[in-house]
């Protein structure tokens, strides 16, 4: 065993020195290979991180939301509906939410205006998200004016800016008292934007949703799991499309790798001829070539992965963010939680190392099969 290990170590030594002797060619290959790994890894890491953020955000959202529909569109829901929902067995709490969108022509962005359940906001005062505070240069004590549904301007005093840690959720959020929301949007008493329903047993949420649909056919129950599934599918789809687009680049790289492995220089042919003349067998030359390929593959894999990690988790993925994460005027500033799983590494391995290895086996074997007399004659 020790002898075999020593032999492999010597082969690895020889492979490294052989790679270094042809550093121009090998550095070019390494550069292109690393770039490919970097692009694919960036897509994978970024998508995975966005999915994790979405899952974390959704963990705090209501597990079941009920909206009223009118002509297939979202409509305001009467408070009486809440009473009927409370009669369903398994429902522990039903509460009405008041929220809406307000278009601010000054920054050309939509705000989400909401009456919070947990925080008490005094009338004629607001709490604003960090995105709005940046866009409108607001701070505690500033005045923010909204135009009501009837055209009347309504002034609110900014009582505070929501913490930047929650920016992913609150960048475009304005929190105000329920009475102010009603006055701003002209909502009558007894009407809510939608209802949130809490269910005692999380496994019964789907059953409760089915009962709601039966009891109130003009409503639409939305499950938190459904929203999570939609996010997962959307991010996976975006990543899948990008990877499909990059498969052209992968193919080009494989042709490049094949060409590099097949096009032996006179010096390489001479080297193999000399090794064979000295008594090396084809299997040993193949092992040497395997080590050369492994060194290039692993180095490119690690370099590309590391660069992708820095790109996504340190630099916030400037090259991919516009395509993968979506866009908005008041886009939140947020930092993705660094995370790389074995699963992502295995996918990356299947995308890069497997095709590279498959593309270079035959040319490598041809190179290893060269005989000394062939080399001398040529």
């Amino acid at each position: 065993m020790a002898r075999r290990l020593h032999k492999q170590r010597y082969l690895l030594d020889f492979a490294l020195s052989s790679l270094w002797r042809r550093k121009g060619k090998n550095l070019a290959l390494l550069g292109v290979y690393s770039l490919l790994v970097f692009v694919l890894a960036s897509v994978l890491f970024f998508t995975q991180a966005l999915k994790r953020e979405a899952a974390l955000v959704l963990a705090a959202s209501p597990e079941l939301i009920v909206q009223k529909l009118a002509a297939g569109r979202h409509d305001l829901i009467p408070a009486a509906y809440a009473e009927r929902l409370r009669e369903i067995r398994g429902v522990s709490r039903v509460s009405g939410r008041l929220w809406g969108y307000y278009y601010d022509a000054r920054v050309r962005a939509n705000y989400t205006v909401m009456a919070p359940e947990e925080v008490a906001v005094p009338e004629q005062a607001v709490l604003v998200g960090a995105g709005i505070a940046r866009g409108r240069h607001l701070s505690r004590g500033s005045t923010l004016t909204f135009q009501g549904y009837d055209g009347t301007p309504r002034a609110f005093q900014v009582r505070g800016v929501l913490s930047p840690e929650s920016e992913l959720l609150t960048a475009d959020l304005v929190l105000m008292a329920a009475a102010d929301v009603r006055r701003l949007f002209g909502l009558a008493e007894g009407l809510y934007t939608d209802l949130t329903v809490a269910v005692n047993n999380p496994r019964e949420v789907a059953t409760v949703a089915a009962k709601i649909q039966e009891l109130l056919p003009d409503t639409r129950p939305i499950l938190r799991d459904e929203i999570r599934r939609t996010y997962e599918a959307a991010f996976d789809w975006r990543a899948g499309i990008l990877l499909s687009v990059f498969s052209g680049a992968l193919l080009a790289f494989l042709i490049f790798a094949w060409d590099k492995a097949a096009g032996l220089s006179a010096e390489e042919r001479r080297e193999i001829g000399i090794l064979k003349a000295m008594g090396w067998e084809t299997g040993e030359v193949l092992q040497l070539k395997f080590w050369e390929g492994a060194v290039v593959s692993l180095t490119a894999f690690f370099m590309g992965t590391l660069a992708a990690y820095l790109h996504v988790f340190v630099a916030a993925a400037p090259l991919l963010a516009p395509v993968l994460q979506g866009w908005s005027v008041l886009y939140p500033r947020f930092r993705l939680t660094p995370f790389i799983g074995l699963f992502e590494v295995a996918i990356l391995f299947f995308f890069t190392v497997v095709p590279y290895t498959a593309a270079t086996i035959v040319p490598t074997w041809r190179a290893a099969g060269l005989e000394p007399d062939q080399v001398m004659r040529s």
């Binding site: 897509v43 994978l44 998508t47 789907a206 799991d225 999570r228 599934r229 997962e232 599918a233 996976d236 789809w237 990543a239 899948g240 499309i241 990877l243 499909s244 498969s247 084809t282 299997g283 193949l286 395997f290 699963f343 295995a346 996918i347 391995f349 299947f350 995308f351 497997v354 095709p355 290895t357 498959a358 086996i361 035959v362 490598t364 074997w365 290893a368 099969g369």
Partner: protein
């Protein structure tokens, strides 16, 4: 089809691996027909040269198959949120009729690939290609199976539709359901526990005999092959209950989830190692008296037996540890 990076990687990787193995099998047919070490013709020389190409192709293909099996399982597990009713890989695989055939085909290819790697390694120890014909004969069903696995996997992944409502482990592995899995879950615990214990004891006895005295190779291989389905049945029937601490949950896939510390991966990897190394011992038995292998083969078989025992030992150890520490008492 779900446009997931994992699915794209599996589709591409599966196709490439099947391509490698089929190319190797096609290149191996002339070797099966014409290889003759006593022949000094140019054709024979060409065939001898070709062996190194085929070995390299298959060694890589086999390694990719083994990694691919676990990636396939892991992907099935991670896709479960897309299907209403699915809680783990059991539900995702059930979401399309080609799901379970794809898994079984991949499992069969992986076992065959492992055995092939053992035969290849042994062949390299002899100076006269002693296992060459066996090696290339094994390659044909392996390539066919690999192609079938890639096809089944492609049908499965391309046919997956998120709106499908599927049944998961709670229904598939519940004792009353009309499925094979449910029949396994319904197997009586005590007799099956005794059968599992007996299978492991026979394996241990024959393994120790092979390691110490070099005898009982066929018995050991048969015991290793037999212990595989018995261990799986025991896991589904009663061992799984201790992992979940639920007297009615028999799923073999939920243990792949983070909630259970991903313990399913070492469990099934150990089981796969046990069966592959054990079957490898049996496949090599007819060649014990070949002159070129006489010195190395018994030692190699002893090492394989030890590896197989370690695999089954790890599986049994992890399960028994769980039985010991579990809050569930049956």
């Amino acid at each position: 089809m779900l446009m997931s990076p994992a699915i794209l990687a599996l589709l591409g990787g599966g196709g490439l691996t099947a391509g490698l193995l089929c190319t190797a099998a096609a290149a191996g047919v002339p070797l099966l027909r014409h290889f003759d070490l006593a022949d000094g013709s140019e054709r024979q020389l060409r065939l001898e040269r070709r062996t190194s190409l085929i070995s390299t192709l298959v060694a890589h293909g086999a390694a990719f198959e083994l990694v691919g099996l676990f990636l396939f399982l892991s992907t099935a597990d991670r896709l479960h949120p897309f299907f209403v009713g699915a809680m783990c890989a059991a539900g995702t695989l059930n979401a399309h009729p080609w799901g379970y055939p794809a898994l079984l085909a991949r499992l069969a290819v992986s076992i065959l690939a492992g055995v092939w790697l053992i035969v290849h390694y042994t062949d390299c120890q002899g100076y006269d290609y002693p296992l060459l014909k066996l090696k290339y004969a094994l390659l044909l069903p392996m390539a066919g199976l690999s192609l079938a696995a890639a096809f089944a996997q492609a049908r499965y992944h391309l046919g997956l539709a998120p709106e499908v409502i599927t049944s998961c482990c709670g229904a598939l592995f519940s004792a009353g359901a009309p499925t094979v899995a449910a029949s396994l879950a319904a197997l009586p615990r005590r007799p099956l526990g005794l059968a599992w214990g007996a299978a492991l004891l026979v394996l241990l006895g024959s393994g120790l005999s092979l390691i110490r005295r070099g005898r009982g190779g066929y018995l050991f291989a048969a015991a290793a092959l037999g212990a595989f389905p018995v261990s799986l049945a025991a896991f589904i029937s009663f061992l799984s209950l201790y992992f979940y601490e639920l007297p009615t949950h028999h799923c073999p896939f939920c243990v792949l989830q983070g909630e259970y510390g991903y313990v399913g991966y070492p469990l099934f990897l150990a089981l796969l190692t046990g069966v592959v190394a054990g079957v490898g011992v049996g496949v090599l038995m007819p060649f014990r008296h070949r002159e070129s292998l006489a010195a190395t083969l018994p030692r190699l078989q002893a090492r394989l037996a030890a590896l197989s025992l370690s695999g089954y030992g790890l599986f049994a150890g992890l399960c028994l540890h769980r039985v010991w520490v579990s809050a569930l008492r049956l």
